[in-house]
Structures are given as C-alpha cells and as structure tokens.
C-alpha cells in the first residue's frame, strides 16, 4: 500500500454533497495530479464531520487543518499552498466567532472540545466504502474476539454490565433485550436494525450509516451470535439513497472478506445481512409496525405482548435495535463494559448523538457524554443563538417529545431527567428556538405531522390528534377561548392513556409541554389575541408609532374596515378591536410608522 504524507478528507455526507462536495473531491484530485503530488497526498471521501453549518468541510491530516465552506474553485489553491508549499489557506480556516481568530487545529474548535465520539468514532475519519480502513481502526476485531473466546452468555453479560440503553427513543437496556431473545427457542431467529429514521430534523442514523456502515454490520453479527440468529435485516428508508448504497458496498465487501456469510472467520457461526426498504411511515419506528412493514403489510402496530423477542418477523423471535445503539457495540467489547459504564450518569451510560438544528450558530451532528447540560450543548458546542437573539426553548424527542426552557439549561441530559422535565430523549433531534418562535405554532406543527403519520388503526390517535390540531389551528387563527386550553389538556391525557402504540401515547407531548411551560403564550393568544412572537398571521398586532407618523392619511384610506382614525398631519391610531390584521396599512405607509408585533 502506498504511504501518503498527507490525507485530504472531504465530507461526503448528504448535507455537504448538497453543496457540491463531490465536485470538490474531483477538483482536489485533478489539482494533485497536475502538480505531480499523486505520491504525496490522497483524497478520501468520508462520512459526516458533524459541522454541517459550515459545510462543505475539507480536513487535512496529519495537521488537523479544518477548512470550512470550501468551494470547488478553492481546491487548486488548497493543493498548491497547503499540500505543495505547506502553508495553510487562512481565509478558509474556521474563524472563532468570539475571538475572530482563525483556528489552525480543529482540536481547538469549541464545537469539538466538549464532544466525545463513540458511535461516531469513525465518521469523518475513514472512507466508508473501503473495508480496509475500518479494519485498520480495529474494525471486526470485536466479533473476532467474541467468536474465539466467549460463549453467547458471556457476551450478553458484558452487554448487560455496560449499561447500554436503546438509542431509538425508548431507552430499554440492550443487554436485557438480547437475553430475552436468546432464551426463546426457535429454528430461526432474526436480528433487525431499525434504520427507519422518521423524526423530522434528526439525521444521526443516516450519518452513521453513511460514514461507518461496517460498525453496524459488525454489531449485528455480534447480536446474532448472542441470541442465536443467522439472519440480519436492515429496515432502511428508501429516501436515504446514499446510505443504502454505502450499506450495499459494505455488505458485499464483508462477504468477500468472510466476515459475513457462512462460517465466519472459520468458526461454525454463520450470519448474513439483507436490506429491506421502508416507504416513509413514521409509525414504522415502532417495533411491531416495523416488522409488519417488512412482511409487506401496512405498517400498523399490534398489541404487545407478544414482544418481537418472542414472536417477531415471520412469527420468529426477533431482536430489533436502532442504528446508533448498534454503532456503540463493537467498541464496548474492545474497551470493556467498565470503560463504557464509566461514561455518563448513573442510569444512562455512554454518549448520545444529537442532531443540533434550528436557531443556533453551529448546526450539526454532535456526540456528547450523557449528563452534559443543555447550556454546554447550546452555548459551547452550538456557539449560541443565531443573530444574538434570546434563547426560548429547545425541543427534544421530535413529535413525541417536549420543550425544555431556560430553567432546564443546567439540568444534566439523560433519559430520566428529560422524562422528568416532560420531554424525552427520543432519537436525538434537538431543535433550538428563539424569541421569534411561537410555541403554539410549534405544537401545531408537530400535531400536523402526527395527524399525517397516524396509521389510523386506533381511534384516540386517529380522531383525537385531528381534534387537537383543529383546536390549535383555531387558537392560531385568533378564534380560541380559554375553555379550549382546558379541553386541549384533557383530550391530550385521553389520547395518551388510550392509544395502542408509542406514537399515540406520546403524540400529545408537544401540546402538554408547551402548555406547561408557555401557558402565558397560549393565554395571550386566546385572551388578548396576540402572538408575542409575531408568528401567527391572524394575531399580528398593528400599531402606529406616533413619532414616525406624519399624518399623511395614506393608511386611513387603505384600511378596508375603517380601523384607523386621526387628524390630518397628526399621528394616527389603529383601533385594535376593529383591525382585521390584513396588513394593508403596513404596505402603504412610506414612513415605516406601522409597527407589527
């Protein structure tokens, strides 16, 4: 193998690809060739670096130079200056927003300093389409050790000791799940990887599959050995073409190396993996619904028990784990259960990947130890709120979760604390909102999603959520009453208590948590008919600024309902009760004297 002095890592994740990172790879390669540096430097397309805000990213190692927002036309300069002459291209370096200094070594970036990467350990370091690179970073060593030295019981025991809990949302201990599946006797069992990431605004599973597909395959094989399954299935969204392609490549390479298929590494253990495509249904994140979908049916959930561990895919014992959970597993066996259990809080071990998005400076994919505070995540890793606005809330857990507010900023993040605060870990979406976001609209947005995604099987979810959404629409349109707020609350509890599956049981959470933390905002909507954030069109409050108004009467003439009065050349006034919030006055005023709230 050729020894290169320098590697140029280019992010090939979906986000950076959308900004032409594939062209950047081509341009870098051709510049390297032109300058005769083909023996010196190599370009590698990797998975996501996480720092999506400033993509596309090009990272140069060994010196850890981190170029941001690279354009295809910058490539020649990077190669000529950095690779040939050893001088960094300063204008492309990441600039620290506080000190305004260019940061030379990516280790010193605030975004990475507080992170601890276990599930994402290989994302952004290796070429996901080359199995040798995974093996070079101890890939497939864990399965090797286990097959050579451990019984399935011993391996399950390590998993239990590590304290790993499912990362898909529920937080069920993985080791116990495996143990249950292993004890059920059957001629055929299945390992299923749930890669049907449906939570809007969460993309951690996709990034792992795109950046490090082999770690998921290896973990599935380990699970197969532990529970006695010879078949693995990955249920993946058809909307993730790049992840699908990378998985297909990974599976065929692993088969070629004898790491999947019959008699793995010369042992009696056989295991193979197949892809199953989802077709876009949020409810399929629920285990039983997912299994029905894999069998070719509508993805409707069924009552548990029987749990999939007993009767799952095609009626056989099935163990379902989420992508991120699986990505943690090989390292646990390499570094030991004690090592993993030493990270995190008492009941939530290890790390969690979050997709940090919304009104925050550093949008991206982060992995942090459990127990970190929201304040650290938002202000140190996330770089604070965009445009210096005021922080209002952060939404975790997607459509099943809730909002956390300023008073939760110093709460350590783990499964139990989030639940206690009225939200949940969920799959790891973390959407930051500022003073311009209306919490009633946010609740409405999530309900809209739930109404669309409800499978329709049980009435509380199908009908109840629709009603919740209608009430929220009414409130946003300025037609709500105080009774509606009470009704919202009661109906939410009924839906939670009577729905069949996890989707319905959690779908009112966005409503309940915004009602709890932002009751004043709801009250303002129904009492004063004001949307403080100015987001609800029908509730915009138009006023005239007396110091700017010249009394030209243009607005008086434009107002279709005669809500504006005043003497000529004197400041005018809008009658709030008459105003229909059409905005005609605002459009007509030449002196920006109309203020909209």
């Amino acid at each position: 193998m050729a020894q290169y002095k320098m590697h140029l890592l280019v992010c090939g994740g979906t986000g950076c690809r959308a900004s032409q990172s594939d062209v950047i790879v081509k341009n870098l390669e051709s510049s390297i060739k032109e300058l005769g540096l083909s023996e010196e430097a190599q370009v590698v397309t990797t998975g996501c670096f996480g720092f999506c805000e400033k993509g596309p990213i090009v990272k140069v190692i060994p010196d850890n130079t981190f170029y941001t927002q690279v354009k295809p036309e910058d490539c020649e300069e990077i190669v000529r200056e950095h690779v040939l002459k050893g001088r960094r291209v300063y204008r492309l370096l990441y600039e620290d927003p506080e000190t305004q200094k260019h940061i030379e070594d990516s280790k010193h970036m605030g975004f990475y300093q507080k992170q601890l990467r276990i599930a994402l350990r290989n994302c952004g370091f290796i070429d996901p389409e080359n199995i040798d690179e995974y093996i070079a970073r101890d890939g497939y060593a864990a399965i090797g050790n286990i097959l050579a030295e451990m019984s399935p019981e011993q391996a399950i025991d390590i998993m239990k000791k590590s304290g790993l809990r499912g990362r898909g949302g529920g937080g069920f201990p993985t080791g116990i799940k495996w143990e249950i599946a292993s004890k059920n006797k059957a001629d055929q069992k299945y390992v299923v990887c749930n890669a049907d990431e449906g939570d809007p605004g969460a993309f951690m599973d996709r990034s792992i599959l795109e950046g490090d597909p082999h770690s998921v395959l290896e973990a599935m094989a380990i699970c197969g050995y532990c529970i006695g399954a010879s078949k693995g299935l990955i249920y993946i969204r058809a909307e993730y073409p790049l992840a699908i392609k990378r998985l297909q490549v990974a599976i065929s390479q692993a088969r070629e190396y004898g790491l999947l298929g019959d008699n793995i590494l010369g042992t009696p253990f056989s295991f193979d993996v197949e892809l199953k495509y989802g077709a876009g249904a949020f409810v399929c994140g629920e285990e039983t619904a997912l299994i029905h979908s894999m069998e070719g049916h509508r993805g409707e959930p069924t009552v548990k028990p029987p749990f999939p561990a007993e009767k799952g895919y095609l009626g056989k014992p099935t163990n379902v784990n989420n992508v991120e959970t699986l990505a943690n597993i090989p390292v646990i066996y390499l570094k030991g259960a004690e090592w993993f259990a030493s990270i995190g809080t008492e009941k939530s071990k290890g790390t969690k990947v979050f997709a940090l998005a919304g009104k925050i400076n550093n949008v991206g994919l982060i992995e942090v130890p459990m127990g970190i505070t929201l304040r650290e995540v938002i202000y140190e890793i996330g770089g604070g709120i965009k445009g210096g606005k005021k922080f209002k809330a952060v939404q975790t857990g997607g459509p099943s979760g809730g909002c956390l507010t300023e008073k939760h900023l110093d709460t350590p993040i783990d499964f139990d604390n989030l639940l206690a605060a009225g939200s949940m870990m969920g799959s790891g979406g973390m959407i930051v909102m500022d003073e311009d976001d209306c919490m009633v609209s946010v609740a409405k947005f999530y309900l809209e999603f739930t109404v669309e995604e409800s499978c329709g099987k049980c009435a509380p979810c199908r009908v109840g959520n629709k009603r919740l959404h209608e009430i929220l629409e009414k409130i946003c349109a300025g037609k709500g009453t105080e009774d509606d707020l009470e009704y919202l609350k009661n109906l939410s509890y009924v839906i939670k208590d009577t729905s069949l599956c996890g989707l319905g049981q959690t779908s009112p959470n966005p409503v309940l948590s915004t009602l709890e933390h932002f009751y004043d905002e709801y009250l303002a909507h129904v009492r004063e008919r004001i949307c403080i954030a100015g987001r609800c069109k029908a509730l915009k409050l138009y006023t005239i600024l007396p110091d700017k108004c010249t009394g030209c009467t243009a607005c008086t003439r434009a107002c279709p309902v005669g809500a504006i009065t005043g003497e000529k050349r004197q400041p005018h006034v809008i009658d709030v009760d008459k105003c229909i919030r059409c905005g005609a006055c605002y459009d007509k005023c030449k002196f920006t004297a109309i203020h909209v709230q």
């Binding site: 994740g13 979906t14 986000g15 959308a18 900004s19 999506c52 805000e53 400033k54 993509g55 449906g198 939570d199 809007p200 605004g201 969460a202 993309f203 996709r206 990034s207 058809a238 909307e239 199953k276 495509y277 989802g278 077709a279 876009g280 249904a281 949020f282 979908s293 069998e295 070719g296 049916h297 509508r298 993805g299 095609l314 997709a355 998005a357 919304g358 009104k359 949008v363 991206g364 939404q395 997607g398 979406g429 959407i431 909102m433 976001d437 946010v442 947005f445 999530y446 999603f449 669309e452 499978c455």
Partner: protein, 159 residues
Amino acid sequence: MSSFKIQDCHKQTIKQICESFNNNPGELISILHKTQGEFGYLPEDIQREIAKNLNISVAKVYGVVTFYSFFTMTPKGRHAISVCMGTACYVRGAEKIVDELKEQLKIKVGGVTDDGKFSLDCLRCVGACGLAPVVLIGEKVYGRVEANQIKDILASYED
C-alpha cells in the same frame, strides 16, 4: 383520476418484476418500489395487475400504496419540487417558501401544473439541516432559500 390505460407491454414488465421476487406477497413493498421506479407512479390499473400476479386482493395492494408516503398514484411533474418541512427547516421559515411556490405555480401542495412542468410536494427532512430551509428540484438541492429567490429559481427551468 389519471387516464393511464395499461398495455400488454406494461403487463409484461410487471410480471417480470413480480417474478424477480418469486411472486412472494411478503415482498409487496419491494415490488411496489421497483414498479414505481419503472413507471414513475402507481395508477389503479398497475395495482390491479400486481394484485393479480401475486394472487392477493387489490384492496391489499391499494392499502399498502396509500399507507406509505413514498408511493404515489399521481404522476409527478417533469421537475418535481419538494420543500423540506422538517423541524429545522420549519423554524427557519420553510412555510413562507411553500406559500411562495403555491402562489407562483398556482397549484396546491401535491399538485402538478397544467403543463406538467412542475409538481409541488413537502417532505420530512432531507438531513441537510445546516442549509435550512431546503428545497429540492429533481436531484438538485437549493439551500438557505429565501422567498424572493423562488421566481429566479423557477425561471432557470426552461422546459
């Protein structure tokens, strides 16, 4: 409904697709994926043909097609526009973009323009949250889109 009329050659294609999955009803979703990839959408006649091949009821096929958002019974425009409505895009103003597109194209979400040039849909998270709000036209991704850019973007598609 669409005016699609099934021809013998279409029947042949469907038969081949079903056979490649051993006419196994358990593979219905994979078969629908492949068929939609071939025809662009799944009109009624095609669903009937699949049901016949797999020896299952048309209701079963229709039930699955309408359950999953990825399957469609109406053809898309030559340039399919999808606006990301993931939470990250939503808080950064995707709603305004949808309103502007509806206004410019004079169609609803889920509709196709009369000339079949554009169709408009919303989707949940492309995963390019750093570029929010995001609009996809065909395969091309437009990031950090603002409502006043829509007109120029649409104009760049000539036919």
